[in-house]
C-alpha cells in the first residue's frame, strides 16, 4: 500500500457490522439449518434476506441519496468474509455486489433512484448474466444480439450459468449491439425484468448449494430505457462490476479459509490415534503452519483487492483484484485440500461442514475467473 499512512484498523461501525453478522450466523444459520436451506426449493432463506435488509447489509454499498449507507468495498469485504464463514446461501454477491453495484456505478440517476432503494430493501433481487457458452471467463465473448427495434431494442441469445438467476427479479444482460464475437466494443448492457416476454430459464442447483440457470432470450423486446450506460460501451461497466465481485469473492474465500483452519486445528487437538492427539505429529504440525501462513497471506491480498476495487484507475483495479484472486485461489486450494486430508475420512462426508467449505472454495475459484485466468490477467499488467 502506497501513499497515505497505512491503517489496518476498522471503524466502530465496521466492527459492529461484523459482530452482528457473526451473531446472526451462530444463532440463526448453523450448519444444519444451512443444509436444509440448500435442499429447499428456493435454495436460501427468504427470512434471512429480509433480516439482512433490516440490519442494513443490503443497503451498505449504495449511496445515501438512494437509501444506502454509502459503504465501500472494504465494508463489502467484511460482509463477504462472514458470508464465507457462515456459508450463507443468499444472493448477496449477485444482487448487491454485482447487480446493485453495476447499477450504482453505471446506471442513470433515474434508474438508480428507481432500483437501488428496492434492492437495498430486499424487495428486488438482481442477477448478472454476462457469460456465454464456450466463452469461459471472457466478458467480451458476446454472441447474444441486441438489435434496434423502433426506438427500443430486441435481444436474442443465451447466457450460461447465471448465478442466482432462479430467484432474480431483474437481470443485467450483456448483448452485442455492434462488432464481432470477441470485440471489446459493441457490447451493451440491458436491464430486463424477470417477467419480460421471451425470457426463459433452465434452472439448476450448483455444486456448492446455491442456484443458477441458463437464460434464453428469444426476441425480447425492450424499451429504450432498458439500456444501461452508452450503447456499445458496456464492457467497461461489466468489468468494473465483476472486478468488485472478484474482490468480494476473495473476502468470502478468506472467511472460509479462516473457518477451515479453525476446524482443522480443533480436529488436530482432539482426534487421537496411536494414543496421542494427531496434532502431536510434526508432519501435520508443519502442514497446519503452512495453512496458517496461507490464511494470513490471503487476508492481506483480500484487503489489497478491497482497497483497490474502488479505484477509478482501471489498470490499478484490475491488477489488484486479479492478483488477489489468483493468489487467494491457490491458497484456498492448499487449505481446502489439506483440511479435508487432515480430517481423514471425516473430511469427505456430507454430514460435516468441512467438505462444504471445501466445495465452496473450489467453486469460488471457478467463479468470475479461475487462478489461470486471473494469473494471466495479472501477468499482462506486470
Amino acid at each position: 500500500l502506497t501513499g497515505a499512512a497505512v491503517d489496518f484498523n476498522y471503524s466502530n461501525e465496521q466492527v459492529a457490522l461484523r459482530e452482528t453478522l457473526q451473531r446472526f450466523i451462530s444463532r440463526d444459520y448453523d450448519f444444519e439449518r444451512r443444509r436444509e436451506l440448500a435442499r429447499s426449493p428456493l435454495g436460501f432463506s427468504a427470512e434471512a434476506w429480509s433480516r439482512y435488509a433490516e440490519l442494513g447489509f443490503l443497503s451498505l454499498p449504495f449511496p445515501e441519496e438512494c437509501g444506502g449507507l454509502g459503504g465501500n468495498s472494504v465494508d463489502t469485504m467484511l460482509v463477504m468474509e462472514m458470508v464465507g464463514r457462515g456459508l450463507l446461501l443468499e444472493p448477496y454477491l449477485s444482487s448487491i455486489v454485482l447487480g446493485g453495484g453495476l447499477l450504482r456505478d453505471s446506471g442513470s440517476d433515474s434508474i438508480k433512484r428507481q432500483m437501488l432503494p428496492r434492492i437495498a430493501a430486499g424487495e428486488c433481487k438482481m442477477a448478472l448474466a454476462c457469460y456465454e457458452a464456450a466463452g469461459r471467463y471472457d466478458l467480451s465473448q458476446v454472441a447474444c444480439t441486441a438489435a434496434r427495434s423502433g426506438d427500443g431494442w430486441r435481444l436474442s441469445g443465451r447466457k450460461t450459468v447465471v448465478l442466482d438467476a432462479p430467484s432474480a427479479d431483474y437481470f443485467l444482460v450483456s448483448a452485442r449491439s455492434g462488432g464481432n464475437l470477441r470485440d471489446e466494443h459493441g457490447i451493451s448492457v440491458f436491464l430486463i425484468g424477470r417477467e419480460t416476454a421471451g425470457l426463459t430459464l433452465f434452472a439448476y442447483p450448483t455444486q456448492s448449494g446455491g442456484r443458477a440457470a441458463d437464460v434464453r432470450l428469444a426476441d425480447v423486446t425492450l424499451a429504450p430505457g432498458a439500456l444501461i450506460g452508452a450503447a456499445g460501451e458496456g464492457l467497461g461497466l461489466l468489468e468494473r462490476a465483476v472486478d468488485k465481485g472478484i474482490a468480494a469473492l476473495c473476502a468470502e474465500a478468506v472467511g472460509i479459509i479462516a473457518a477451515l483452519n479453525e476446524a482443522t486445528l480443533n480436529y488436530l487437538k482432539t482426534r487421537k490415534q496411536f494414543g496421542v492427539p494427531i496434532g502431536k505429529f510434526q508432519a501435520l504440525q508443519h502442514r497446519m503452519a503452512d495453512m496458517l501462513i496461507a490464511a494470513e497471506q490471503s487476508r492481506s491480498m483480500a484487503i489489497f483487492a478491497a482497497v483497490y476495487a474502488d479505484s477509478e484507475d482501471a489498470r490499478e483495479r484490475r491488477r489488484a483484484v486479479s492478483g488477489a484472486k489468483a493468489y487467494v485461489g491457490q491458497a484456498a486450494r492448499l487449505v481446502g485440500q489439506q483440511a479435508v486430508q487432515m480430517h481423514g475420512a471425516m473430511g469427505v462426508v456430507d454430514e460435516l461442514i468441512v467438505s462444504h467449505y471445501f466445495k465452496r472454495l473450489t467453486m469460488i475459484d471457478l467463479t468470475l475467473g479461475d487462478v489461470d485466468f486471473q494469473l494471466g490477467r495479472f501477468s499482462r499488467l506486470l
Binding site: R136, Y137, T200, F281, D350, L366
Partner: protein, 403 residues
Amino acid sequence: VDLKYTSEEEAFRAGVRAFIEAELPADIRAKMGLGKRLQKDDLTRWQKILHAHGWGAVMWPARFGGTGWNVVQQHIFEEERADIGAPPQNAFSLKMLAPVLMTFANPAQQDYFLPRILAGEDWWCQGYSEPGAGSDLASLRTGAVRQGDHYLVNGQKTWNTLGQYADWIFCLVRTSSEGRPQQGISFLLIDMKSPGITLRPITMLDGEHEINEIWFDNVQVPVQNLVGDENKGWTDAKFLLTHERTNNAGIGSCTRALKKLKQIAARETANGRPLLEETRFRDRIAQVELELMALEITNLRVLSATADESRALGPEVSVLKIKGSEIQQTIAELQMQALGPDALPYLREALEMDWVADPSFAEHYRPYAPPLTGQYFNMRKTTIYAGSTEIQKNIISQLILGL
C-alpha cells in the same frame, strides 16, 4: 533393460483387446464412457462374462482358477480394460481377500469361497476401520467372543465401501485384549445376512452413497469362518493392505482419464481457441503425464523385481500408492477445471443413463461435463483410504529408510 513389448506380448494384447471389445456389454461401456452411475448388476454381469471365458481372476495363480498370467500380462490386461472402458472388478474380493485366503485359509475355506468369488456369486466388502481406529488400525475394538462353535461379534465398523451390495464381509475383530494391540486381532468372515447386522449409509461430499457404517449386535459367526489362527489376524491384515495398495496405483484408469482430459481440453475453449492450446493449462497436463509415465515404469519395476526374486510385495508399494492416488486427483481436478464455469451446475439426475438434457442446456453443456466436478470431490478419498498418504510416508520412513 527393454521397455518394448515382445511380439508375443503384443499378440497377447491384441487378443485381450479383441475379447473385451467383443464381450463388454454396450450399456456398461456407455455408462463408463459418460461417467454414469454403475449398479451392482453391471459389475457382476461383467465378472460373470470374464469368468465364462476363464478370465475371472487375471491376478490369481492357475491352481485357484486364475489365469496364471505373469505381471506383464496382468498389466496389459489392466491397460486394455481401462482403455476400452470396462469396469474394474471387485478389488475387495479378488485382489484383497483372495490373496489372504490363498495364503492363510484352510483348504475347506479356499474350496468354498474362492470359486464363488471367481464366478461373481459372492460380493465381498471390508470391515477394517472403526470410528476410533483409522490410521491406527490396531486399536480396533469390535469384539468377537468364542461361545462353543461360534463367535459372538459386537461393535462398529465404518468407511465400509459398497457394503450395501455385499453378501459377505471380511472383518478384523478383537479376540484378546492381552499383550500389544496387534496381538489380539483375528480375521473373520461374516455373512452379511446374519441377524444383528445393521448398515447405515454415509453420504459422501459428492452426494453419492458409496460408504457405510456397519453395526454388529450379538452377531453369531461359526468358528469355521476364522481365517488362520485366532489372535494372529494382524499378519493377514497387513498382507492384505500391501495388496490393496498395489492396486491403488490405478495406472490403467489414470491413463484413460488422462486421455479423456486431453479430449475435454481440446473441445473446451479459452480466448476463442481450444483450451489445450493455452500454455498455462497445457503444461499442467504435461506435468501430470510425466508423473504417470514415471509411475508406469516404477510400477513395472516393482512388480518384476518381486516376481524375479519370488518374494511378496513389500513397503515399496507405498511409493506406488502415494503417486497413483495423487495422479488420479490431479487429473480429476484438471478435468473439472477444464470446464470453467460449466463445472458449477450440480445435476444429480444426469448421472443416470436415461437423463436427457434440456435442449437449451444441451446446446452448450457437453455430455461429459455433469460428473466431472463430483469426481474431483470424490477423488479426495484416494489419499485417505487404504492407508493415508501420511501413513504411507511413515512406512517409507520406517521400513525403507530405517528412520
